[in-house]
Structures are given as C-alpha cells and as structure tokens.
C-alpha cells in the first residue's frame, strides 16, 4: 500500500484533562489510543453508538480539537503544531461537514457571504469573478446560483446540507470529514445527499471520513468501516467483511440491531443480542481490561476468562482483512469467506 493520505497515530483525547491534574477529579477519555489510516480517494466510515468518541475523533482530524495524545499526519507530516499559513494550507486539504444544518450557518448572513468566506480568507483565485465562482459552486451541489442571496433559514435541511458541502468543496480539499451529515435529514432527502457524496467522490477523487451510526448509509458510501466502542477502536474491516462477518462481539451486536442487515446470520448473533446493560455513566472505572467485557456475551460463553478483565486487547489483524481488538474473537469462527469488495480503492 502506498503512503496513506491521512494517518491517525495512537490518538487519545481526554476532556477536562487539565482539570484532571487536580486531586479527586478525573477527565473523560473520549478517544482512547486510536490508530487509523485513510488512503487517497478512500472512504472510511466511523461507526459506533453515541458517546463512542467518533465525533471527537472527527473533530480532532478537522483540527477543531487538539488531541491530548498521539498525532495526526497528512502525507506523513505531523499536523499538530501547524500555525498561520501552514494551518490554512491544512484547512485547504481537510474540510468538515456538520451534522446540524440549522446551526452550521450564521443565520444573519446570506449564503453569498457565507460561501465567499473561503475566497476571502484563502484569497482563492476566481478567474471569472467571484460571483461566477460562487454560482458554479452552487450548481456543483445541485442548487441554483439565484439562491445565493437567500438566508440559511430559507432553505430546507437537505438544501442546507448541500450548501455545507459547497462550502467545504470551495477550498478543493482532498479529505472531507462528514460528521453524521444525513442523520438529521428526512429519509427521502438522505438518499439525495448520499448520492451527492458518492458523485463528488467519483468526480473529484475525494477521500471521506464518514461518521455515522447509520449502517445503511455507511454500506452505501464507504469501503472500510471502523467500529468504535467507548473511545476504543474495536474492529476495522472492509465493508462486506464487517457486515457479513463481524468478529468483535460488539460489532455483531451493532449489526444485529439493524433489521435488514442483521437478519442474515441471526442465529449466530442471537446470543450477542442478549440484554446488554448500558455502559456505566462516566465510562469504565479502569483502563485495564476490555471495556466491553461487562456486557460481552462471548466473555460469558467462554466462562469469564480473567484475561478480559486484566489485559487490554490489542488490535490484531485476522485472515480476511479484518483487524479486531478482542482476545478471543475470530478463534471460533469458521473459515474466512473471501471478501466481495476489493480491499482498497487506490
């Protein structure tokens, strides 16, 4: 594999870390030692329940948050200490799209002014004048240039999300972080926006970090899927592999929870579907062991081995292209089924 566009290297983020230095206080470890890569033109999904740290990781990649541990690299270069001109260059490489379209735009500014921001800040060239550039941008996301003089609230949610895409595209990024871009939209509109993403990826060769809890959207758009649980990466695998052959007990439960997807091997996951207690508030008490052990059906099945409670499972590669962070998962699974999806799109 060639050098990845983006590599996330052992990134951790703890909220309230500074406060945690005081005795008696503890921060909240939202992202815990996660490593991932995204190749040029590749689309990676980040899935997991709310509170799993997927949004935090997305914000770290978009440099809205500075991680408390680890590094993010683009083209092999650490982006941690970027300032001024170099930071602007990073902004032109990595862009972000937000979940809540209602709050993602300043309600007091016209779309024209909002979309002109990137041109002003980055002094982008507009050979045929800025108006032409903005009009072209609108048309690229399926809107009309005549809508530029409207205010954000005059658009529907789906249209606003298109404007969000236009704003990100104006800088010509190579990677877009999309934080639940469709989950606040009507189902009928979701498909349109997803199609837009898919088209733009094809036309522009964009890489995508797609954060979602909607496995169907993920299946439609992404080649690889990374599953987060309580801040830790528990499994990363090619799309087909993960959906048809999830290895980690948590991935199994997640997939079983989606009616259309989980149905096919319901027998296998029925144990995984056992009543799972909600994770304790404030996260697990110790960093040792596996976070999922307390609710893990496999743990029970294997007679509650101590190893799950004392040793943190490392991510290990398995046959079939998956990597899983579980001491035991995969050992009992049948011979790997060859993946239908090509491993990676270069």
């Amino acid at each position: 594999m060639t050098e990845p566009l983006l590599s996330i290297d052992r990134v951790s983020h703890e909220f309230g870390a500074r406060r945690a230095l005081l005795p008696g206080r503890r921060g909240h470890l939202a992202v815990d030692d996660v490593s991932l890569t995204i190749g040029a033109g590749e689309s990676l999904a980040l899935v997991g329940e709310s509170g799993s740290g997927k949004t935090t990781l997305g914000r770290v990649v978009a440099k809205l948050l500075t991680p408390t541990g680890g590094t993010v690299q683009v083209d092999g270069r650490d982006v941690g200490g970027l300032r001024g001109r170099e930071l602007l260059a990073y902004r032109r490489t990595v862009q972000m799209i937000f979940q809540n379209t209602q709050h993602a735009f300043n309600p007091r500014r016209k779309i024209r002014d909002i979309l002109a921001d990137p041109y002003e800040i980055h002094r982008l060239p507009a050979p045929d004048g800025r108006d032409a550039a903005l009009g072209e941008l609108m048309e690229r996301v399926g809107l009309r240039a005549s809508m530029l003089d409207r205010y954000p609230h005059q658009f529907s949610g789906g249209q606003r999300q298109r404007i969000g895409v236009a704003r990100a595209l104006s800088l010509g990024p190579r990677l877009i972080v999309a934080d639940e871009p469709v989950s606040a939209l009507d189902v009928s509109v979701q498909a349109q926006v997803l199609n837009l993403f898919s088209r733009l990826r094809r036309e522009l060769g964009l890489s995508l970090l797609f954060i979602s809890h909607d496995l169907r959207a993920v299946y439609f758009l992404c080649e690889r899927i990374a599953v987060l649980y309580q801040g830790r990466l528990v499994e990363v695998a090619p799309r087909e592999r993960l959906l048809e052959h999830p290895l980690h007990p948590y991935s199994r439960r997640l997939i079983a929870a989606v009616p259309g997807l989980g149905g096919r091997d319901s027998a296998e996951v029925s144990t995984a579907d056992a009543p799972a207690a909600a994770p304790a508030a404030g996260g697990p008490a110790t960093a040792a062991g596996c976070h999922y052990a307390a609710t893990c059906p496999l743990h029970v099945q294997l007679g509650r081995p101590d190893r799950c409670l004392t040793e943190r499972p490392a991510l290990r590669a398995t046959a079939g292209g998956s990597a899983v962070a579980c001491h035991f998962a995969g050992d009992e699974s049948p011979a790997p089924v060859p993946s239908v999806v090509t491993e990676e799109v270069r």
Partner: protein, 285 residues
C-alpha cells in the same frame, strides 16, 4: 366565531401593544429632547441669572415653572440641566460600553485565565453597590461634570461585561463558529463576523436600559451633592437644591423630579420596543 376572534386578537395583540409603546415612549423622549434643546431659547432667561425680587415665584406666565431661592428661572434651568444630565448619561454609557464590550468578547471567547482574572475583578465590583463605587470615585477626584461621567462609567462596566461575556459563551460553541474555524477564519474574524452580529440586538437593548440607570444614578449622585456643582445645573443637582425647601415650596422638588421619571420611563419603554423588534423570539439572550 369566537375562535376567529381569539386568533385575530392573538395575532394583532403584540403589534397593537408595540404601536402604543412606540407612541408613548417616543413621544416622551421626543418631547423632553425638544424641551432641552430649544427650551432656553424660547424662555429667554439666562439659567444662572438671579433675580432676588422674584424668589420662589410659583409657576406663572413669566416663569412657566416658577423660580428657585435665588429667583433663577426653573424652566430654563431644567432644560439646561437636562442637557447636562443626558451628556453625563450618554458619556457614562459610552465609557462603560467601551470597556465592557471588548472585555466581554475577549473573556467570553478566549476563556482560560484571562476570563478567570477579569471575572474575579467583576465579582469584586458586584460585591459593592453601584452607587457606592461611583461615590468612591467621586471622593477620589472631587465632584464635577467629568468625574460624574467617569464614576458612572466605571461603576457600570462590570455588570455589562459579564452580560456580554455570557452571551458570547452562548454563541461561541454554536456549530457555525466551528464551521468558520474549519474554513480557516482566525479568532478576530470569527469575533467580528460571527459573534458580534449575533450580540448586536442584546447590545442595543442593554445600552438603552443602562442609559435609564445612568440618568437615575446621576440624579442620585447629584442629590447627595456629589454631582455637578453649582451654579451649573443638572437634574440631580436641582433635585438636591429642592431638598432644602421641600416643606415650604414643594413644587420645586416636583418639577425637578418629574422629568427624571419621564425620561427613565421613556427610555425603558423604548428598550422594550427594541427588544421586541430585534429579537422576536426573546430567547437568544
């Protein structure tokens, strides 16, 4: 039938009420402004000219609002004093805003130790009544027009700064400021383009409300003899003078006091109108 009436009433209600407020509030302020600006011209008296033959003259054709203990025309003195009071109030509010708005924006947006330090100073001011702070400053520099302005301005800023700060905190974490950061907007650009416009309605309303307080507190300082000094007149100092004759010639106190009441009433009504206009939801602050 009744349902229609109810709907009509609820949709017309606010507009009718607002129209009434504009007329009363605007009318009051307009009338008083006219009084201050052209009053001395039409009365034809020098505000400081004494006429011992006409001491304590009641309202008459010659002296519309009567005269004081030295026979000075009260109509003229009230008009000129009103100018002084309004200048002090406007200046004090301008000074308070000039300190509070930048400070509130900075502490709210940057947070951290800057926020902590400034807000502790604000807390300190909060522990002392506004007027007491003003009195302290007057005591330091001696009573005069400019000291009164300075004293009120310095007494008002902490309250205002905290208000601005909390509003900034509310806007700072909205997704659109994140979006601006991702696009590459710097801190100043975000404050200028994203945060300040969102605060504008609040700032306009608060400035107006503060103006009312400034008029009241000027009168308070003047009443204590710490405001504008004789022979110059302000509403506060006129009120202070009237205190000596409150039993023998009570109308002087009434004449000095009522305009203060009216101007504060007018300002507060207009602040209300502005709040309704600029912030239809009434929830963003």
């Amino acid at each position: 039938m009744s349902a229609v009436a109810v709907v009509a009433a609820t949709t017309d209600g606010p507009r009718v009420k607002r129209g009434w407020k504009v007329i009363v509030g605007g009318g009051l302020l307009g009338f008083l402004a006219l009084f201050m600006l052209v009053g001395p011209l039409i009365s034809g008296y020098d505000p400081n000219a004494t006429d011992l033959d006409a001491r304590f003259a009641g309202p008459s054709a010659q002296h519309w609002l009567g005269t004081d203990d030295l026979g000075r025309d009260l109509f003229t003195r009230m008009a000129v004093g009103g100018r002084m009071t309004m200048l002090i109030a406007l200046g004090a509010v301008a000074l308070a805003s000039a300190i509070a708005i930048p400070l509130g924006l900075l502490t709210g947006y940057l947070g951290g130790w800057v926020d902590l330090a400034v807000m502790r100073v604000v807390d300190l001011f909060f522990a002392i009544p506004t007027l007491l702070v003003a009195i302290g400053i007057v005591g330091l520099f001696g009573p005069s027009f400019s000291t009164t302005l300075l004293a009120l301005g310095l007494a008002f800023w902490p309250f205002y700064a905290r208000l601005v700060r909390s509003a900034v905190v509310g806007v700072r974490d909205l997704a659109y400021t994140d979006a601006a950061r991702v696009i590459g907007a710097g801190r100043w650009r975000i404050i200028r383009k994203e945060i300040l416009p969102a605060l504008l309605p609040l700032l306009i309303v608060q400035t107006t409300v503060l103006l009312g307080f400034a008029v009241l507190d000027e009168a308070g300082l003047g009443f204590l003899g710490l405001g504008v000094q004789p022979p110059d007149a302000s509403w506060g100092s006129l009120l202070a003078q009237s205190r000596g004759f409150v039993l023998s010639h009570p109308w002087i106190g009434v004449i000095a006091g009522v305009p203060i009441l009216l101007v504060v009433l007018g300002i507060n009504i207009m602040a209300d109108v502005l709040r309704d206009r600029l912030d239809p939801q009434g929830a963003s602050t």
